[in-house]
Symmetry: D3
Subunit: 140 residues, 6 copies
């Protein structure tokens, strides 16, 4: 590709990057991820492109950390940030998809409470509860 | 214990809780943890007590998540919060102690950058770099 | 208690700690507090346990600061954190319960705006307004 | 004015400051701004006063930066803070009012994602999308 | 004053507002406050003006909340925000000046830890410890 | 490129992306940017790669917003985030490089104070002051 066109998300090179990112995304949470990208399509398609191509294609797919570990980090980050309930919902679902149990997810949020306080942990737990209910998956 | 004295951190029941918390703390990072508690002793000993008794004795020691997973969550939370370089330093050290490699630690921080941005990730990486240098442990 | 069982929230020692925490919680805001614990019961009961036993039983009940002062600190923290509207609602109610007037609560949030900006203060004021309306308590 | 009465928002000097602030506010986003002040009138009128008199009358009206540039800074701040969707909605509208295009607004939020992460950017984009839809103004 | 000149911080009306703000600031912490304003004088004098005239003259001086209560709110906000060690240092000093004891200040920070986590509380406690040491005032 | 190798930052396609990102970075702030990448080289080279290739090559270089506008957004984000003094230093320098005056930079930070509070604005202003001093560029 000519690098001066690197910002053009419609170029063949960037479409290949997008396609790969979508493959990674689909392995983790196809439905939720595609739904976010669809919602971006008419307002900020480049944001959707980079979430797929960069966040999933470049970073998530790196071999240095398994998906389970990546979701533990993500749960920590999103619980701490606060105000990211929509993204947390996607990533609690993704955490279940990559093999974390409901007990491990709630334990991760309880653990996070030590470092970011109970209010943020409560918000995160209630998001997790909603996802567990939707999936009919409740901690024992 | 009489519950009305529960807030008294010098009671036998609370000293037992403290002793247990210190055992857990010592398994993870004795030197750094004890150094924080020592620094608190003359200004806010109750804060030190609860970090040991509650954070380590009650939470960290729970069986629902292994130490490696707990440190991944902690790295995510502390990277996202920002401004917690001193605590991140302790927990990068603890992450190495419980078996995370330098590559996994930097990968966790790179992963976090997607969700909390590059500036927070840069701050966290430079803390990790300092810890790795002190321990003579550099990613390959 | 045997400290190796300290993490077991069903032990007699921890049930005594819980009972004491619930007494403190009930003095401050029985209805709202119990409602949060109920919502946690089937998804993360240990989080509910520690909010009652640690946050209320160990910390809130300490003699070093009166409940009115504790609620002023809490209003400051929750206004600044942002995204904690549900918790702020509980604590605006608790602030009224421990004797802060509606005028003092709105003044505390106005004061906080200097340090955390108008948007966070606006969010907090509208939470307070909802609580005041529910209680038929409006600033003069 | 006698300075000891400076805190009295009903004084003639402060009413003049308020009137000026409202003029500035009306130039930027009359409907949304007035709606916020109306909602504050019975719970925290002093907060509304200072938002108009200080934020708009003292700061926004300063000649050192044009309104378009001020809105770019504001979009950056509100996207990064998170949890300020209501205020962001007002300021996306204000950004359109002072001449930023829908494409520039979404580009500003995409740019912000690099520094504060994708979740905050997604929240901001969906607020922008709502405003664009209400105004029948969609990026090309 | 002519409101179109309201943004001019050198106007007589604004100089009167500044003078009043400085009186309030001097009652709370003359040395630290003046030192901040001096540091701003050659780079952003308008920021210094508004901190004195608005934050202290308009808000801090309002009768609805006593200085002790204001400092409790401020300690909560600054502990929660994080990364505001310089401002926290000023306000721990101000808290002592308006009558909070060292024990009340550390208790306020311990209380905040429940809501914003231990790392932020640790940072705040170590700032308080430095101020206490400088003033030769240690909690008993 | 074969998309399954997309994560390999040493591939020819990714080296081309890196080279382009470095060109963009060098146009904005060669010295500071290269210094950050050098510091990352032995600990987290992939983070450095993606900051150059993605943040600068993919995003900063997009035509939808001029560099001056991008730096205004960045100043807003970094001021609001807090704890990003090192990154703010780079971006205050970059802001000067792309044509913002010292007065516009301090005005942007004063403007941000309305939305994120005075403490964050003070931290940002003192970073700007340091950069201005290093460059012998002081606001009039």
């Amino acid at each position: 590709m000519t690098t001066t066109q690197q910002h053009d998300v419609t170029s063949p090179a960037n479409q290949a990057r997008l396609a790969h990112g979508l493959e990674v995304l689909d392995r983790i949470d196809a439905e939720a991820g595609r739904s976010v990208l669809d919602a971006l399509a008419d307002v900020a398609p480049a944001l959707g492109h980079h979430i797929a191509a960069f966040a999933f294609g470049d970073i998530y797919d790196r071999p240095g950390l398994d998906p389970r570990s990546r979701q533990l980090v993500t749960l920590g980050v999103l619980t701490a940030l606060g105000g990211c309930e929509a993204q947390l919902k996607v990533h609690v679902g993704a955490a279940l998809n990559v093999g974390l149990s409901t007990e491990e997810i709630t334990e991760a949020i309880l653990h996070a409470s030590v470092y970011c306080g109970f209010p943020r942990a409560l918000n995160a737990i209630f998001v997790a509860k909603d996802v567990f209910t939707e999936r009919d998956a409740t901690p024992q």
